[in-house]
Each structure stands twice: as C-alpha cells, then as structure tokens.
C-alpha cells in the first residue's frame, strides 16, 4: 500500500521541480512563433528557388547534383540532433531533470527523420552517379549503424514499462551511442578503407566553381537547420504540455 502511494507522489513532485517559470517559457514560445517560424519559411522558400531555378546545373553530373544541397543539409541536422541526444542524455543522468529527457527524445526523433531523409536523398543521387543505390562505403555504413542505434533508442522508450525508467534507460543508450561514435567511425573506415575515392568525387571532384553554388549551399543548410530548430522547439512544447496534462489528470483523478 505505502509503496504504491509513494510511486504516485514521486513523479508529480519531480516534474513540478523541473518546470521552468511559466513566464519565461511563454516568452520563448512567443519568440519561436514570431521569429523562428517565419524565418524558417522564408529561408526555405529562398532555398527552393535557389536550388531549383537560380543555381546552374553541375557540369559533369547534370541536374541530379541539385539534390546534394538538400542532402548535405540533412546531415547537418542529423549530426546536430544526435549530438544533442548525447549531451541531453548525459545531463539527464547527472541532473535528473525531466526537460533534458524531453530534449533527448525530441532530438532523437528528429535526428532519425533527417537521417532517413539523408539516406534516401543520398540513394537517389547515388543511383545515376555511382550506378548503385547502395554501396558499403564507410560513410554510408556509419550512417546505417547510427540509424539503427537511434531507432533502438526510440524503441526502448516505447518498450519501457514506466516512463521515468524509460528515460533513464534511454539516456544510458544515448551516452553509449556518443561514446561509441569514434570507434564505429574508425572500424568502418579501416574495414572499407580500400576505395575512399568515391567520397572525394562527391565534393571535391566536381567542385563548387560557381559562387552561386556556395550561396545556395549555405542558404539551404541554414534553412534546414532552422527547420530543425523550429520542429525541435515545437516538439519540446508538446512534451511540456503533455506533462502538464498528465499532472492535471493525476490531480483530478489520482486513482486512475
């Protein structure tokens, strides 16, 4: 009896303590809506125009090279996201504040989405250029392994019986993933170190001779990065609201 009563009070007090002051949160949300969202949309439209209309086609690869701008932007978002997962996991294990857990989860979800899109755009590019959808190139292998780690991270959360425990367990995986990154990288490079030339042609070979190409790349990178930040903030807000709803529900009907 006493044990179950204790279980009910612990999450409530823990969440209450981890809540930032309401005023500050509201102001940050407003900033997100007022500035981040329009900026993302404007940059995204500019990027679309640059990629599809303004920038000249690559001399060797033809129009397919245009996918590269988007592809590169996916990777920037993916690696930022997975980096955030690692830091947030570490902070969660250390501080035990629920918002680090929210950050880790939101970031892992987005990272996985961008990673999948990055793999897809890469494959579409590779089919005409390399003549194959997939090769066991070190970078591709690394990405595939990462994708699996973070897919397991999300699966672990949905499979855990208690959300608090799921957060802790996922944080262990998040920390392990980041620690492992260097080792995976070394292993796949040594494993497939025989023909790294394919990577060189991807960037260096054709080169970004036209200055407009560089502008396009930077704008696209920025656009997708802002998109990532915006989505991250929306996801965090959603997690916070969900938390308040759970709390209210607990107060209204503690037995359920």
């Amino acid at each position: 009896m006493s044990l179950s009563a204790e279980k009910q009070t612990i999450p409530a007090s823990a969440t209450a303590a981890s809540h930032p002051p309401i005023g500050r949160v509201a102001r940050r949300d407003e900033l997100t809506d007022r500035i981040l969202a329009p900026a993302t949309i404007a940059l995204m439209l500019t990027a679309l125009y640059l990629v599809f209309v303004a920038v000249p086609s690559d001399a060797f690869q033809g129009p397919i090279q245009r996918i590269f701008y988007v592809h590169m932007a996916m990777w920037l978002a993916t690696f930022t996201a997975f980096g955030i997962v690692g830091v947030a996991s570490l902070l969660y294990l250390w501080k035990r504040a629920l918002r680090w857990d929210h950050l880790g989860r939101a970031s892992a979800e987005l990272g996985l989405v961008f990673c999948s899109l990055g793999l897809a755009t890469g494959s579409i590019w590779a089919r005409p250029i390399w003549g194959t959808w997939w090769t066991w190139d070190p970078r591709l292998t690394l990405t595939l392994v990462l994708w699996m780690i973070y897919a397991a991270y999300l699966l672990l959360r949905s499979m855990s019986t208690d959300p608090q425990q799921g957060a802790t367990l996922a944080a262990i995986l998040g920390v392990s993933g980041v620690v492992d990154l260097y080792l995976i990288n070394r292993a796949v490079y040594w494993w497939r170190g025989i023909h790294p030339a394919v990577i060189v042609t991807k960037k260096g070979g054709s080169g970004m001779t036209d200055p407009l190409m560089r502008v396009t790349l930077i704008v696209t990178l920025l656009a997708f990065f802002l998109l990532f930040l915006w989505l991250l903030r929306l996801r965090l807000r959603e997690a916070r609201l969900q938390e308040s709803v759970d709390e209210l529900r607990e107060q209204l009907a503690p037995s359920v």
Partner: protein
C-alpha cells in the same frame, strides 16, 4: 566481488543450464551457417571466421540474457542490490561471470569449428585465441550493461540484441577482420590496429558500464 563471481559459477556448476545452452546454440549456428557457406569448398577459409563470430554473437546474446533473468526469478536482484556493495562492483562481477561462461563454451565450440571446417588445429587455435579473448571481454562488457537495461522493458529477450548489436558493430568488424587476416597467415603485427580497436572498445564499455550500471538497475 569474488564472492559474486563465485556464486554465479556455483549456480552454473550445479545446473549447467547456461553453459549447455550456450554450447548447443553455438554448435547449431555453426551447423546452420555451414548450409549457407559450403564448408568443403575453397570459400571456407574466407567464410570461417565470420561463421565463428556469428555463432559467438548468437549464443552470447542469449546467454547474457539468462545471466540477469535468473536474478529476476525469486527477486534475487533485489537481494543483490540490498547488499552493501557498489553497483559498479556488481556490474564487474556479472561481466566477469559472462566472460567466463562464454569462454568456457568457446573452449569446446572452437575445436569443433576447426574440426567441421577442416582447418589446421594448432595454428588456428594459437591465432584466434588473442582475438577471441579480447572480443569476448568487450562483448561481455556491453552485453551485461544492456542485459540490465533490457531487463526493465517489455519484450526483454528481443530488446537486448536490438540495443546491443548496433553499438557492438565496431567490435564485430574488428574481431572478424582480425581473425580473417590472422587465419590467412598474416603475422600478429599486421592486425595490431584491429586489436587496439577491440581493446579500446573493451576499456570504453567497461568504464561506461561501471559508471551507468547503477542507473540501469535502480528501481
């Protein structure tokens, strides 16, 4: 800590269930993979190290699942956690136990593997042993940590390989590459970078496990 290792070994000596299942699973995997890679053809020397490691991975994953599951039966894990011990110590003891079990199983599986694949006996044993020792240690280190993690989830048995295998991929790449090169007659020096990688993996995950195990087992 030694008492904990001794306890696990004693349970094992009395029931022999983990060892027996590790052994049989390892052998079964060898058998099934022999159907895939014709063990009489010229290809066998290229495929052999991979076959050995896949059998180690299969059997080891299931064995490590057992090692913490049997603590859960009768709530032994509670008793273990109530003991005045650092959680890291429990982790090290469990890892050591898993390492010893897998090693004992391999003592029988490896000769049979050599026998079935018709490989030179002493040469293979001498060459594979260092890789096997280092590889099993890292495998036990990461497996024990994530066995504790997956113990707390639904679908425990499925979760362990899902969580552990992607993270352990550098270990497997390095172990398979090192054994392949060694078995094809290259000197130990030629694979030292792989062995270093495995050793680094061992150290990293022993430390991570030792530090985070307490979070994995807490109530």
């Amino acid at each position: 800590m030694l008492a904990l290792i001794w306890k696990d070994l004693q349970i094992e000596l009395r029931t022999k269930e983990t060892l027996a299942s590790l052994l049989l699973l390892g052998l079964l995997t060898l058998l099934v993979l022999s159907f895939a890679f014709d063990p009489t053809s010229e290809m066998r020397e290229a495929a052999a190290p991979g076959v050995l490691w896949v059998s180690v991975i299969f059997a080891g994953t299931l064995g490590m699942n057992r090692s913490l599951l049997h603590e859960r039966e009768h709530d032994c894990l509670h008793g273990l956690l109530l003991a005045p011990l650092d959680r890291g110590t429990i982790y090290v003891a469990k890892t050591a136990g898993n390492f010893v079990f897998m090693l004992l199983a391999e003592v029988i599986v490896v000769p049979l593997f050599i026998f079935f694949f018709n490989l030179p006996l002493w040469l293979t044993v001498v060459r594979v042993t260092p890789v096997l020792l280092l590889g099993l240690l890292g495998f036990a280190a990461i497996g024990t940590l994530f066995a504790a993690v997956s113990l707390r989830t639904r679908a425990r048995e499925v979760m362990l390989p899902l969580l552990m295998l992607p993270l352990a991929s550098p270990l497997f790449i390095a172990a398979i590459q090192a054994s392949t090169q060694l078995m094809s007659g290259q000197p130990l020096g030629a694979v030292s970078h792989w062995l270093n990688l495995i050793a680094a993996f061992d150290v990293v995950f022993l430390v991570v496990g030792w530090l985070t195990f307490e979070y994995a087992v807490e109530e």
